[in-house]
Amino acid sequence: MRNREKISGNIDWVSVTIYISLIVIGWLSIFTASAGEDVTNLFDISTRYGKQLMWIGLATVLAIVIMIIDAKFFSTFSYVFYIGLMLILIGVLFFGSTVAGSKSWFKIGGFAIQPAEFAKFATALAMAKYLSTLNVDMRKLKTKVISIGILVAPALLILLQNDTGSALVYFSFILVLFREGFSGLILIAGIIMAILFIVTLLFSELYVIAALVLITFILIFIVKSLRRNWKPIFGILVLSSAFVFSVNYAFENVLEPHQKKRINVLLGIEQDLRGAGYNVNQSKIAIGSGGLTGKGFRKGVLTRYNFVPEQSTDFIFCTIGEEWGFIGVTVLIILYLILLIRLVILAERQRSKFSRIYGYGVASILFFHFTINIGMTIGLAPVVGIPLPFLSYGGSSLWAFTVLLFIFLKQDANRLNVL
């Protein structure tokens, strides 16, 4: 009894309040997108809003259970969770069911569970556990290889399930690694790679390489200090050129046709309002038509009449944009921003390295989902089907994000007990 009081006293109410707010906003949006004209029973589990209500209830139970369990439980069993989930991910490849082209679901009775959602928190735990081990030195190559290996394993398994979006989430750990001392170049390299990727798709490789060479010589000519270190500069130039050459190859041979198309549409190479561009165009129209204040609750005709595909799952942001307008989406974005910043602040106040790294893991994963999901609905990111945390319809993602967040909130509530 005493223990539980302490927990509720130490829990970070800012994060919990935002968590609850996001879940409420999410449910209202699912309700408006899935309810017909007459609603008799909010708990009707043949409807999406009814099911989501049930899943919110279960998520609450999960959150309370996590807050009751001893904080050490998670750090102790980090690898167990990780290995267990990797095995389940392998299992899905053999025994899973296919939904919307991705073989990433386990069907139990009438419900389907997506293990990839849960792999995120397990990976975050494993990463935190590994990097917080006493004799780990970030500067060693071994450390780098292992920590990247921890990320690549789930990403590859999920890629094999044909769920590119969920696999890409593991890129977000770059932020964690960066915070823990990986060279800042890793961020810069990531950004440069992204730019090169896009530029190569837009223009021919030879132009890009010619431009790279030109930029390199100009840099060396202008910045005197670089002249002495010309060897690494040329190394970067060679690597970049190799990357540029590989981009087209990878684009043509690794990506699925629909993914290529989505990227092409996003970059404006293809105009395809009936195919890949349809979702985004409809989504932009729905959001754009919301104006400053929106059309009002349950008045968003485009989302309600199914003009935007997937509007209760991946495109839930449209419903908010249409019904609550610019004011509504700004409030939502600020809520997310506060949550993300709050998580970083909480992470930094942890005494244990494990808790801090895990905290950054939580923030990074949420940030990635936030960026890609909203980005795709407003045409700034390619359409990769990943949910908006706490808002999108779906039990697996809601529970997985709840577990992800509350494990950290538990660590945070318990931080004073850590020596």
Binding site: I287, F326, A347, L380
Partner: protein, 609 residues
Amino acid sequence: MYSKDYSSRKNIIIGVFILIALTFIIRLFYLQIIDSSYKLSADNIVLRKVREYPPRGLIYDRNGKLLVFNEAAYDLLVIPRQMKNIDTSLICELTGIDKPTFIKKIKKAKRYSYYKPSTFIKQISKKDIGSIQEKLYQIKGLYIQTRTLRQYPLPIAGHLLGSIGEVNNRDLEKDNFYKSGDYIGKSGIENYYEKYLRGKSGMSIVEVDVHNRVKGSYSNGSFDTIAIAGQDIYLGIDAQLQLYGEQLMQNKKGSIVAIDPQSGEILALVSSPGYNPNLLVGRERSPNYSKLLNDTLVPLMNRATMGTYPPGSTFKMVNALVGLQEKAIGKNSEFSCKGQLSKPIKCTHDHETPLALSGAIEQSCNPYFWNTFKNILENPKYDNSHTGYSNWYKNVVSFGFGKKFKTDIPFEVSGNIPNNDYFDKVYRGHWNALTVRSLSIGQGEILVTPIQLANLSVIIANKGYYYSPHLLVQMEGEKEDIMPEFKEKHITTIEPDNFDIVRDAMLDVFEADHGTARWFVLDSIKQCGKTGTVQNPHGEDHSIFIAFAPMDNPKIALSVIVENSGFGSTWAAPIASLMIEKYISGKSQRTALEKRIMEGDLIHNSKNE
């Protein structure tokens, strides 16, 4: 410690968070507030304007019998922009058109507009629309619109009722009330009273879902306008009389115009050969219209208002009346007749001589009216015969001859009464009564329409006045007279007393021993009439008869013209008499006569054909 403190890197990470959030907010500000095209696109996607067509006003006869009503039909509309991935063969199968036709129709629709609906297939029956409606959800871009077609319970009065048809470009330019595909009165009453009959179309805005299913009205219908039904119209036509007249005139060329003398309301307006108005409805309109248009008997022409004839002997009464009014003759003036030897105009009738006015009308003596005409022109009141003529002219046009009535019957022509200028031009100023003598017996340059002839009968019945012959009696929902000119009394130059002798003579046409229509006398009704036979250079003479009845309180006045039928008493007189009997007694007792007339075929057995 070997590990460096990297905690300051949190600021970079928070910076990245804020950067992304700001990017999103700026992007959303642009999407939602600055760029208004998304709002427009949203309306285009969700809102569909549905035009609500008002039922067109109905048309009734003078007894409240329905002449024209509406029947539902369905149009299939297409919005080309929305036609994507459609099953062409399904559409062809449902609508019964072939693929080339389909492509042609789509091309035509695209030429009109990509975004606006245009008619794809017109006037599909209730039966056929059912199966289309079931499958329509599979075809994007096609919609059903309910329309109304005109239907006619009796196959009569096609000429005067007219027809409706789709608006053409000129209609669209002239009046922005209409949208492409709308119907408009093309002729007859439908055209003349279009503004009343058409009603006001409504517009409802509905919201549709991604499958184009209507989900409800937009904004609770606050922007919707209700369709207002067209006004019903009551005509002076007597449907039974009209039908009877058309039956009497079948297989004959000519016309009947019957007018209520007390109001000017047209009771029957028959032009033969006519056509069944039901032929010019819906999808059959075009093929049937061209068939009628190419018919050598010109059934589309309304002979009653567009046909012009020399009035022949019926015009003698006009000359008699002008003569009396101008005191050129008296009631008892007598002129001798030498029959075939008469100069300058011979007499075709065999009668005693000399005759007084009454006998001359009854016997239709040509020399008598030559003398009358000569006296009018050479009246000592005037300096010369030209002044006499212009005075004659003034009298004659007061009967409504030589001009249009400005009435609601479309395609009326004015006929011709030549004036002084005309003769001055033709004869270079050198002319006198002798030169223009044909006018004395209603021949020569005089041309009148059947409706003008019927009006002459009205004037004699009324002893000197008439109302413009017209169709409209009452427009539903209008308190004021919409056509006050129909109530305007037109008074001729002839004083009422002068009519008595002419009326008596017309009575004698039926009732005297030598009357030219004596075979058609009725015990119950005092009929007055006058035969006319118009010389026709192209073939057999036209038979003309004008009449009114009952004599003392005239209820009906009419003109009958039967082309190429010889003497007026053979066909025109009995038809007029049967019409009178039908109108006043409700039915005819003379079944044998009725049968002879109805079965008489002057078109297919004619020697002149």
